[in-house]
């Protein structure tokens, strides 16, 4: 009985897919699919939150633009005023050049320059959403303990507790050593902040899907925080290890090769953190988008090729989404683990 039902369901799906193709084919065949534009417009920040296109009308949410300039002062307006290259109060979105896709304005000399742009862009909104979700989750969990002293939680609170304690004991305490409590809150915050942003990024529909942790500004701030946490609390032995490492003397004098290498390493470590997270998440988004675009590229190649490629694309997309889910957790874990390791290394004693 069950088998028959499953086969029936599968059959239904296949029919639905075929309908979808025949419907899409008409549209796709009429225009060339520009994969690069689709992919880049997704992984880059934007002033509007594009959701989908329904026929010819674009469904997107206009987001508030906040710009400030010395001469003009503060301006706040919705990004829908700048749609399709419109100009509003002298501001417009640059179509090309160094500032392509960004809000620009003409200064006194007629040069196009960037004002101070604090707009709530797509990534900022996703970031704020993730912040709110994270605060709610963790504070709810924390308040649970106040209501239930000396009890063991189950369900969602139990899951958060297990994660927090795993990070605390297995990652932070083991990497930093005895003096780990000072850094534990920072590293916990980093882990959950990256995790929640990564997971929201994997969700393909509206409030999710933004490429937040795949944006270099976000990973840059996190890496700078780790850089500060590492070096501001470095011990004497750590700084001696950098400027007077234990290597044969000819490597230090007269040309300080090793001190230079070590000093360089102080910056490459957080830099690697920044690039690793950024590249992993961005690449994941890019691959999933490219695989999805494959369906529409092959639409003009006939039904057989198209349906074959669609099946391949869907299978690969499922695989990639599972992989991304794993990567989302893994990258948050790795960022935290390496940060903790760097902090632990800076705590070395003689």
């Amino acid at each position: 009985m069950d088998k028959i039902r499953i086969i029936n369901k599968l059959g239904l799906w296949v029919v639905m897919f075929i309908c979808l193709f025949s419907f899409e084919k008409v549209k796709a065949a009429s225009e060339e699919v520009d994969v690069q534009t689709i992919v880049f417009s997704h992984i880059q920040d934007a002033y509007t939150w594009h959701i989908t296109e329904w026929g010819e009308t674009e469904i997107s949410i206009p987001l508030p633009v906040v710009v400030w300039d010395k001469a003009k002062g503060l301006d706040v307006f919705l990004s829908s005023r700048l749609e399709n290259g419109q100009t509003y109060k002298g501001y417009q979105i640059a179509q090309e050049g160094d500032y392509a896709g960004k809000i620009v304005m003409q200064d006194a000399t007629g040069e196009w320059v960037r004002p101070v742009d604090l707009s709530l862009t797509k990534d900022v909104c996703a970031l704020l959403l993730a912040t709110v979700i994270l605060l709610v989750i963790i504070l709810k969990t924390a308040s649970w303990y106040k209501k239930h002293p000396d009890e063991a939680p189950g369900g969602f609170v139990g899951m958060i507790e297990a994660t927090v304690m795993y990070i605390e004991e297995e990652v932070i305490a083991k990497s930093i050593g005895e003096d780990y409590r000072k850094f534990s809150s920072y590293l916990q915050a980093v882990f959950f902040f990256i995790l929640i942003n990564n997971l929201l990024g994997v969700i393909p529909i509206f409030p999710g899907g933004a490429n937040v942790t795949g944006n270099i500004a976000v990973t840059f701030v996190l890496a700078v925080c780790t850089f500060i946490a590492t070096n501001a609390f470095g011990t004497k032995a750590y700084w001696r290890g950098i400027f007077w490492p234990k290597v044969p003397i000819f490597l230090k004098l007269p040309i300080p090769i090793m001190p230079f290498v070590e000093f360089f390493g102080v910056f490459t470590k957080p830099f690697a953190l920044m690039i690793r997270l950024f590249a992993n998440i961005m690449a994941g988004h890019t691959i999933i988008l490219a695989l999805t675009c494959l369906i529409f590229i092959t639409a003009s190649m006939g039904v057989i090729v198209n349906s074959g490629m669609t099946i391949v694309s869907v299978l690969f997309c499922i695989f990639m989404n599972c992989l991304e889910l794993f990567v989302a957790c893994l990258q948050a874990y790795i960022f935290t683990l390496l940060s903790a390791n760097y902090i632990g290394l800076a705590k070395e004693k003689d």
Binding site: D45, L118, T131, L134, L139, K146, M165, N215, A217, V221
Partner: protein, 166 residues
């Protein structure tokens, strides 16, 4: 490419939101959770410890109870043994008493029988003596006088015919 240049607006918002997250969660979030979990851990450990202690006490109590029972059993055995001995003693005494009584009664009976017998013999003797005397008197009414010498002869004769006196 603009992919690799951090955007100042996003930088600002990122610093702001991450700062807020960091400040709020490092005050009301993670330390609270970790403290609660550690407290619970301590509580559970304490509970386990007291349970272990209670168990130990229970085992001690059990052992004590068993010791008491063993002691009581021993005492019981001792008492039983004593009772046994006493019983045997009593029985032996009773037996002795009974035996004595029996012997006494037997002796009494023998004595009485002997007395009765002697009495009877004495009576019979007297009777016989009288009878003999009467006979003899009758026999010797003529020829013989009833003197003392004749009585003695007859008595002597009777002794010989086995009517012992004592």
């Amino acid at each position: 490419m603009s992919l690799l240049t951090p955007d100042s607006g996003l930088l600002f918002w990122m610093i702001l939101s991450f700062g807020i997250v960091l400040v709020i969660l490092s005050k009301y979030g993670f330390p609270v959770i970790i403290k609660a979990v550690e407290q619970r851990k301590a509580f559970i450990e304490g509970s386990l410890d007291s349970a272990r202690k209670a168990n130990e006490q229970l085992a001690n109590l059990k052992a004590e109870g068993e010791a008491i029972i063993a002691q009581a059993k021993e005492q019981q055995n001792v008492i039983l043994k004593e009772a046994m001995v006493t019983k045997e003693q009593i029985i032996a005494e009773a037996r002795q008493k009974a035996a004595d009584e029996t012997r006494k009664q037997l002796e009494e009976a023998t004595r009485r029988i002997r007395e009765e017998k002697e009495k009877a013999i004495r009576e019979v003797r007297a009777e016989i003596t009288d009878l003999s005397l009467a006979i003899a008197e009758k026999v010797m009414k003529e020829s013989l006088s009833k003197d003392e010498k004749q009585k003695q002869v007859i008595n002597k004769l009777l002794d010989e015919v086995s009517f012992s006196k004592s």
